[in-house]
Symmetry: none
Subunit: 207 residues, 4 copies
DNA sequence: AATGAATGAGAATTCATTCAT
DNA sequence: AATGAATGAATTCTCATTCAT
């Protein structure tokens, strides 16, 4: 199904083939992202192959097990979020950067449910040394940077740390993804969290 | 396979047959709660049977499909939370009732991951008329009552409504269940949310 | 579910019970006749119990296996047809008796598909010595008598014998039961068979 | 499990993969024909796989449901009979063609019980638009042609039509398949039917 | 490197039959 | 004698993974 034009191999055979393979790899990853995004991890690998328009064996050539494929999808998602966070860090003032990234994640969550599913399961103190974990930790580190900078300029209360902020980010995203919220309710939810992140003194009487 | 332990009969022969069935039903539900709690809905019914120490057919006699079993488990969870919420309403002052129930849910979440999974997926505007939905809506209604009472006494800001509060409840629970948080981080997370729920004016400059 | 009034046992305990049992036996047989008639032998025994309004265990008490139940149903059907055939023999002139019985079976077949199913499978040279076989052979014998008498008065050609006549009877019934035939076509089918049974010399040129 | 006998490749390597699949498909169909022929539709798909010497999943790859497999078997049977009928039409004089085809079906029936089972259930006024129905109707149409031609040359009485003739064909076949008939009885049965089909005036006095 | 066919290990579900009351 | 619960074996179908081309 993939172009296997023999003529192309004449000049730089191996390279041509690899380009082909790389194309397929990406097609498969994108298909997998969509399929697992919709059907959860219990969606079938065959479905991925179909959407990617490659044979099932090709999927397994690129990713030796279904788990490997899932991990690659996750790692890619983490990587992207990490890059977005890094872009935020580079481009904007600390407060805007932090809150915008937070809001961005929450707003996008319903469209990419599975992303936040992934975020959840690969959050904090991992131990495995695989690509997913590393990508997840890169993202976490970026969020840490965003947080620190916002705290340094006084836009986020100083008596809070990354673990709970990350947890809130994850939780709010998942909530937005699963619970049906209209635009205004979602904004109000964010307002609550943002207010809570801004307030200086922790609540008094309520317990 | 079922423990036909004669010792069990000691409490009174007459209650036997029917009681046995009821016992099994509960054993199955509890096994299912645990199995689906850990493995998600994709865990196998056979596993449930094994844990409940009954034959597979017994599971299907009590719950004609896997879906029915899942729904029974969910409904039971919702019902319990609903009862806890109602107890809160009855027993405590509005502010304590609301915040304690919120905290209670979040603290228990890690131990009962699957509960919050369930909360997530069966949250808001349902349409089906099954037992799960009704149980879910009863819980939601209880939370609504808790919220209103806390607002009436001024312990929760008045410019917020059930949808986002419920979403936050769900989100915080899930976050606590999945992301590894130590006790202090968890408390700080709650502090942020509670502060956000307490503040009267929605934040100004940050956006 | 069946009346288990202990008071009734006082006068002639055993007898009373048996009457109960006999009633149930018949209810079960009738239910089985209907259930297997519609769903074929692959219909479930539980369905029979439900229709008979007895517990499943009661069915198995009366008929130790599903096969036994099936056989009892069959035997009963054969027995009834046998009785009808015998009644024909007793009451009518030989020609009418034979052709009417033939037609009667064919006309009734669509309503009682399963009867003819049974007829088919238990036709000729049986060897087992069970009740079904004996009942089947009684029916066959009756048809034999009907045939001989019709032949003796010259209404059926003399160069034909029971096996093929019985086969035709069975075949025509099954055809009428399964193939959708309107009334006229059914009559024409019978006319063909009856003409064939009447003609004296077997066809000449056709081959 | 599949006979991956290398010897089979001798005819030409290139045709391999696809050809293997086609071979398997046919093997499965033939196995299914036999298995369902003997055990009826309630025979198990696993049995078919075993007889075809392929894995169970291979059966389901070729025929996605058991029903699909059954239909394929039926369609194939109808198609073959249709082709035989067409061959008759092409090759022989009308009377011989008609009566030979009729006899042929009846003689073969005992060897292929299930064929006549199929004939029975998929005979006349169908409504579904699947392959089985179409194949069945092609056969029926062929028999219609055979009949008309035989009528046109006066070998079959003119006051009869396809429905009852088809029903007789089916009925005689089923009878021959199930009721144990020796050769002579079978011939006499055919003689009766053929005589009935030949006679011009429908019977007088008998009723 | 890519493909589609093949495969066995489950998974849900049904059923005849047995047990305890 | 009657009942309903319990059971394991069987059945249809799915899926990740391997093979041969």
């Amino acid at each position: 199904m993939a172009t296997r034009d023999p003529g192309r191999q004449e000049t730089g055979g191996a390279r041509a083939q690899r380009a082909d393979a790389r194309t397929n790899r990406i097609r498969i990853l994108e298909a997998a992202d969509e399929v697992f995004g919709k059907g959860g991890e219990s969606a079938s690998t065959e479905e991925v192959a179909r959407l990617a328009a490659v044979g099932i064996a090709t999927v397994f050539r690129h990713f030796p097990t279904k788990t490997a494929l899932l991990e690659a999808v996750l790692a890619r998602r983490f990587q992207r979020l990490h890059e977005e966070a890094e872009a935020s860090i580079a481009s904007a003032d600390p407060a805007t950067a932090f809150f915008d990234f937070f809001r961005h994640l929450v707003l996008d969550a319903p469209a990419k449910i599975a992303i936040t599913e992934a975020l959840l399961d690969a959050g904090g103190g991992e131990n495995e040394d695989d690509e997913v974990t590393r990508a997840s930790q890169r993202l976490r580190a970026s969020v840490g940077t965003l947080l620190q900078r916002a705290q340094r300029v006084g836009s986020v209360r100083s008596d809070t740390a990354l673990p709970e902020v990350y947890a809130l980010l994850v939780g709010a995203s998942r909530a937005a993804a699963h619970v049906r919220l209209d635009t205004q309710a979602r904004d109000r939810m964010l307002a609550i969290v943002f207010d809570g992140l801004t307030v200086q003194r922790s609540g008094t009487a309520r317990r």
